[in-house]
Symmetry: C2
Subunit: 425 residues, 2 copies
């Protein structure tokens, strides 16, 4: 191991120890203190806007020099409006109910023991993300509200922006009398730090949440020695059943695909029941094409319009995150279910139908985090679910599935009250 | 890689694929089919008692020849009574409510979307356990009831007993028309199979549940590339507060330590408030000694009786699982809390006191899976909590904490019903 490696190791060790100490204090912090910190951080984000935008300018300069793609530059860039959105986000998190201390369930045993299941924080959460400066605030805020200490490790291209935003979070914590170590930002762009967070800090870190593209999340899931809340791809489907209302189907497909193409809840494959292919397929495909969407289809879809390209096997597996959709005809709800089981990513799928039995069959048998009937897949979002801000949509089955908000960042404990009971036998 | 390795690899691969296929069927199996399988398995366990006991005899012979300890031989040994207990256990699991399909929460959004959070199975659960033949039936039964496929890997010394019991589970599945591959037993004692289960089957296995001693669980947590529900040690504490009723405290301490010494909820350390040390310490320590318990104490505890041995630093960290207890005086509830934070294993702790404020302080600030007031730590048990049979007590914070019963072996999905809603903006 190099000298530099040893330095990073001992630095990460210190960060871990400080996070554990902060987590113990944060677990007992009253709602008022946490909300005060969030509101003070929002105020600081507005106050220090000039500073933050200047730091972001330095990041953008470096990123352009490094030849980052336009899409990556766009995710990195901040302006007054985006910064106001980040500040507003902190206020929205303050408005959420405090999950910590909530009694999830309670019951009394025949022997008189009163048992409560009570929400408690998870402890220390490591967040590994790409160069999106807003995640520094969102993730830090969600961890704080849920009583967890956060260790943030952002992308190296956003290091100046993240530091400037992080300083506002520290200012908020300080104003509320909470430990500033409750939200720590790993102060180095060295990738070795990520290795430590994933593998070397199991004594300190309770959960890792990766936020970013598939390769980041796969690396984290591969290397982590602590639990991970993963957010893999959303290869989402809309199935238009034989009994679908054509207008509703067309509106839902257009919205599911095109409202925003870069979000994980965007539809990537359209499945149309053979029973309505002659009536529904052509109008939906043409509406997509006319709206500027590329369509890659099977023979039936290609027959509807010369602009439809031929789909390959790979298309059924692809999360385009772009104005592209794969389209094919299936033999009813059962073939739709089996297509989704074979090619889907168990994220979000929707059936459009007026047939209640077909809808129930689909909702029950499609094994995805979110299944919808007569609604757009773009509703796959914590805020749209009424859960407030989210840190992502989990495609894992363990611990948290679907939108991950403050509740999903908690654990629980059992509180048992007795009157001297001992266990017989 | 050796030829033998390749053979085990392809065998484990087949087991994994079959488990995934079975899990898909089991997830949709109605309660009646699962319960019929459990009851038929119970009947087969009674019918085939002779066969099972003969197989167990062969295991015991081998284990004696291999020089296993008396405690290990006892855990391995079956007799008519124990076998009846195992069969009864399957019937108890059948009696539990089916968690699958339960609506955990439901709400309607302002836009009319109706959202339900519905329990679904986790998928495929790998169980790695030591040579306790009863785990084959218990774990298999709990996985089946919760709609999960199970891959069981028992200790090598119990291979004949496990096979004989597993045959009864298969008979039950067959009688109910469920796939026999829903509960598979890894048919080799080769340790390489464990390595595959932990590291090579992430595409098939959703969760690993280790059941056994600390070294097994640590190995599993170290090596697993899939989520683990861990059950580490129970270094449980009873704190006798200054305001404790002496008789209640003595009864609770005796029960917590001695009802059964080998269970994870057994108390291992006694903490007595300095405020009542002169009145409470001596009678409680003497009651323990008189009941045959070895006491290792600090100076104050040693002063109560010449039979008390001197405790070392190591004693505060030790889970004896035997008739031994460490005992010391602390300065009130806060020092009790910090002693537990420093030395405890976050499993189960109890405070005995008539002071409601001290009790609440303890219950809130002790960060353990189970915290009790005026009750024995031996209540740390799924059945005592009213949750039915359990697969263990999780000391993890992630996914499941405390007793792990059928509910804790599930995930959930969101079912959303609309009327054509699309997402604006």
């Amino acid at each position: 191991m190099t000298d530099a490696g040893e330095t990073i190791g001992s630095m990460m060790d210190r960060i871990g120890r400080e996070a554990v100490a902060a987590a113990a204090l944060l677990a007992r912090a009253p709602r008022e203190a946490k909300d005060r910190a969030l509101l003070a951080a929002a105020a600081a984000l507005r106050c220090r806007a000039g500073e933050i935008l200047a730091a972001n300018g330095r990041d953008l300069e470096g990123a352009r020099a490094a030849g980052l793609s336009t899409a990556m530059l766009d995710r990195l860039a901040l302006d007054e409006r985006r910064l106001e959105g980040i500040a507003r986000g902190m206020e929205d998190i303050a408005d959420l109910p405090d999950p910590v201390g909530t009694v999830i369930a309670e019951w009394t045993r025949p022997n008189g023991l009163r048992i409560q299941r009570v929400r408690v924080p998870l402890g220390v959460i490591g967040i590994i993300y790409e160069s999106r400066p807003n995640v520094t605030a969102d993730a830090g805020g969600l961890c704080l509200k849920s009583g967890n200490a956060a260790i943030l490790r952002g992308g190296s291209e956003s290091v100046n922006s993240s530091r400037a935003i992080h300083a506002c979070l520290e200012e908020g914590l300080e104003a509320a009398g909470l430990p500033v170590t409750a939200i720590q930002l790993v102060p180095t762009a060295d990738r070795e730090a990520v290795g430590y967070l994933l593998k070397g800090m199991a004594d300190y870190v309770d959960v890792i949440v990766p936020r970013g593209g598939k390769s980041l999340i796969e690396r984290v899931q591969q290397d982590a020695r602590v639990p991970v809340i993963g957010h893999l791809e959303g290869n989402c489907h809309v199935y238009v059943d034989g009994a679908a209302d054509l207008n509703m189907a067309r509106e839902i497909v257009l919205n599911a695909k095109l409202r925003r193409t870069g979000v994980c809840g965007a539809a990537e494959t359209l499945l149309v029941d053979r029973a309505c292919a002659t009536t529904h397929l052509a109008p939906i495909v043409r509406a997509l094409l006319d709206a500027g969407c590329e369509v890659r289809g099977d023979a039936a879809a290609r027959a509807t319009d010369p602009r439809v390209l031929a789909a390959t096997e790979e298309d059924w597996r692809t999360e385009y995150l772009d104005a592209v959709i794969a389209a094919r005809v299936v033999d009813g709800v059962d073939e739709a279910i089996s297509h989704i089981a074979r090619y889907g990513s168990a994220h979000t799928e929707s059936i459009v139908t007026e047939d209640a039995a077909a809808a129930e069959r689909f909702l029950q048998n499609v094994d995805s985090a979110i299944v919808l009937h007569n609604a757009s897949t773009q509703f796959a979002d914590g805020a749209e679910f009424g859960m407030g801000a989210e840190i992502g949509i989990s495609t894992d089955r363990f611990h948290a599935r679907g939108p991950v908000g403050v509740e999903q960042l908690t654990s629980y404990k059992y509180v048992v009250r007795g009157a001297g009971q001992v266990r017989p036998g």
